[in-house]
Symmetry: C2
Subunit: 515 residues, 2 copies
């Protein structure tokens, strides 16, 4: 058994069932080993940004890692942006990067590069395999490491000869560290603080606590103390919709977040940290916590947030508190021209039961969270690291993880072009993903940010640099060219018909919503 075979066997034995990949010559023995382990599903992406984004989406929905298989430094570079997003999402990813054979590296062949430097920017764990004997153990440790806590990108660099040499040794799964609950004294202190603070107490939450049960606990805490609860602006995953406790997000714009947090004297963080502005702006604060507000970490990202919330509910004697849950109330289907609002209404009306929503709709998607609060129950995933081009790949991975659920991919057009190749993988794997392209045909967020950073009003030539209409991108044509059916919608009625078709047919479908 060669190293590659031992590695794939060990990864599978450690619970890794899917390999998202775009391999090259240096990874061929790993590919051959995948072939010998058909239980491990190999999924091809036409670009590494698709591969890594899919691994992120898969992990968010499955709660465990897929592995990637990337081709040396350039392949890693191509996948780096979505590994950055996965890092920010704190999800487990086993990121395998092939390299030249150990004895070939010093010759500086054309594809040689400093893979470790590139990988270090996104990896919580990083190792270069030394030989065939140890590669399976490296793989088992990578899987364990990927769970953190918190979840992280564990990168294993795999020189080609560690894959093709023998003997590879199968290794049993390595125990993973489990997150610890915060100690009782801290919970007690937070309970005292929140009780005393009343409406001047605020919880800010991200991570695993945003599951359905976690939201109930958060709701109980709010009922018992009068505290408000918000999520980070961009969440890894949150349960939303009818029957769920609704926790609103902190606004993207710092000044709105500051206004919302005004009056908060005690901020309690769960699975996140005190809020900061997404970008810096001249003359505006980067830290969004009100002056004088004290910050209390109930659960650090590495800690067991659910246990912490359970303990806090107990400490508050709030186990019987009954938080409000969202009713099922779908807005009526609008008619006429498409606007961000009417798109949101159509989506809120038609959202299928237990859909997975991957949100990279950017500016034009702003009204959607509000309207979908009372839609059918669903899971919602955000672009977590600000590296655009995550949406369609992550939707792809989520559909692989949950073949029995509908995936709705909300995608801004400018961002969508970053990893447009994801549509092909959706077609090839016949994934049940319906994509809505928000075709405003410009980088609208940059127009908005232009004056916010103090650069004045954009001139015509500057607007032209943010413009995607010269020539117009034909999204239906792009999708069709990659095997995905679709339709263009210029009215709410057309959008509704398109979405209904996408949700009912199974397989991938795309609606270009022209704004």
């Amino acid at each position: 058994m060669n190293g590659a075979r031992s590695l794939v066997q060990t990864l599978y034995g450690s619970g890794v069932e899917v390999c998202f990949t775009n391999p090259g010559t240096s990874e061929i023995h790993f590919v051959a080993a995948l072939d010998a382990q058909p239980e491990m599903r190999a999924i091809l992406g036409l670009f590494e940004g698709v591969v890594t984004g899919a691994a992120d989406g898969y992990a968010r929905m499955k709660g465990k890692p897929a592995c990637t298989l990337l081709h040396l430094g350039p392949g890693l570079g191509n996948g780096l942006a979505n590994l950055h997003n996965a890092r920010r999402a704190r999800v487990p990813v086993v990121n395998i990067v092939g390299d030249h054979a150990t004895y070939h590296r010093h010759l500086d062949a054309p594809l040689t590069s400093d893979i470790e430097s590139i990988a270090s920017a996104v990896s919580g764990w990083l190792r270069v395999s030394r030989d065939a004997v140890s590669v399976a153990r490296d793989g088992a440790e990578a899987v364990a490491a990927s769970y953190g806590p918190p979840g992280q990108v564990a990168t294993l660099i795999l020189p080609a000869d560690t894959a093709w040499e023998a003997p590879g040794m199968h290794v049993d799964p390595v125990p993973r560290r489990t997150p610890l609950a915060p100690d009782a004294a801290r919970v007690e202190e937070v309970a005292r603080t929140l009780r005393a603070a009343g409406a001047s107490g605020t919880l800010l939450v991200n991570g695993p606590a945003l599951c359905e049960e976690g939201l109930v606990l958060l709701g109980r805490i709010a009922v018992a103390t009068g505290a408000r609860v918000f999520t980070d602006t961009f969440v890894t995953r949150i349960a939303r919709g009818a029957g769920r406790v609704n926790v609103p997000r902190l606004p993207y714009l710092g000044e709105q977040a500051v206004a919302l947090l005004e009056g908060t004297r005690h901020l309690v963080t769960v699975g996140t940290k005190a809020p900061v502005s997404f970008f810096a702006y001249p003359g505006m604060p980067s830290e969004l916590t009100p002056p004088g507000c004290s910050v209390h970490a109930l659960a650090e990202p590495a800690e067991d947030a659910m246990a912490a919330l359970d303990a806090l509910v107990d400490a508050l004697d709030a186990t019987q508190a009954v938080p409000a849950t969202a009713p099922e109330e779908r807005p009526p289907l609008p008619t006429g021209t498409l606007t961000p609002k009417s798109i949101a209404q159509v989506i809120a009306n038609l959202l299928p039961d237990h859909a997975i929503v991957m949100n990279e709709a950017a500016t034009a998607g702003t009204p959607i969270p509000g309207f979908t609060t009372t839609s059918a129950p669903h899971d919602w995933l955000d672009l977590t690291g600000g590296a655009i081009g995550q949406g369609m790949p992550a939707a792809t991975g989520a559909a692989v993880a949950c073949p029995d659920r509908k995936v709705l991919s909300l995608q801004a057009d400018g961002s969508g072009m970053y990893t447009v190749q994801a549509l092909w993988t959706q077609a090839r794997e016949e994934l049940d993903v319906t994509t809505v392209i928000f075709a405003n045909r410009r980088y609208a967020i940059l127009e908005m940010e232009y004056s916010r950073v103090g650069a004045g009003d954009p001139s015509d030539s500057t607007r032209d640099l943010f413009d995607l209409s010269r020539p117009t991108l034909d999204w239906v044509g792009l999708a069709k060219s990659m095997g995905v059916r679709g339709v263009r919608a210029t009215t709410a009625e057309e959008l509704a018909r398109g979405l209904e078709r996408g949700f009912s047919e199974g397989g991938p479908y795309l609606v270009e919503a022209v704004l």
Copy 2:
């Protein structure tokens, strides 16, 4: 004047005329400064791999740097593969990466990452600007540094506040280091060696010596000594076609290169180093120089290769030697089914005078160099670093550099999907690029490499992982969806008609050559 304004002024004053970009919020002040300096042409790419590949292609044709403008670590990551290719091409690129404001970085906002680690893998020069006062000097030094010698990627990381703060100070161009000629003793030694070696002497060349005049000097040396001359397998740029001294390339396959170099006792390198195998293969040599062969560096990549060749020709008393040049002999236009050979014949027949050929045709393009030896004179650019997805972006940049010349972009389908967004920039800028997609609908090179690395014969399921036909990519549809006209060709006649149309119409055009 703020820092951004001083930087753009200084870059322009230092000879940087084009900025390829996909900016974000942290780069907006730079965008505003571009607007105030309309002589600097700003060209938008829909993905950073397009931006960096275009900067590479531009530099190869213009002999001077363009600048990029990328959005933080993820934007750099997206552009990394083509920066890797530019690094291997040893061309000057001024790579500007925006970052958060200096005081914002420690807050670890979502887009924060270790930009320096990522950039270090591709940059010969790397600096983080400290403040608005020094940013223009940093820019001027980046320009000078990009020239090397040899040419390199000079990365300037630009925290947002260094752009928006004042005062920025305009800086005059910084003198750049010029490459030195090797000393006379070394030239003399190489002359003696080659004279004595006769047919057992071989020159291996890459870099600036592959210009028309350099090839004449190489030809004189060959005539005077009996030495053979080859280029690296992948060259930055070479003058080819009728009237030029033809210098063949070393084959991609190591075993073929070894066979070709058999009998070489003295290898003289010019602008490159002793040849190594592109990948390692079990049981095959990584170093391709014959055992016992001595290697003599006439000109290191940092040295003045043209001066070295001039001196060597003098030392050999070969200034009057007349090397053979290629006649103009176009193969007749073939008919019938498309094959790699018939595609090469069509291209060789129709290649326009002084065209620029960007070659990323991969396996199906193998016959093209042979057939185009006697085509109209042209410049030929290769994928230098093995990071696929360079072809269409570099063709884009070459067309920006040389608006009066036809650009022929030879593009494998699998590689082309990496940076397919380049077509949109070609349409937007109305660039005169004709693209031929080699649509064999598979990663054919991986099928070939599978057995070469000793993995046996690929199984059906492995072949499926290299297969691009499920679903079939519609390249004409992709192009049309991004504003580029095109046609599908399944016969040599259709290919010829398509190419003629592409060359005659001006503006971008695409022919999908179905193999």
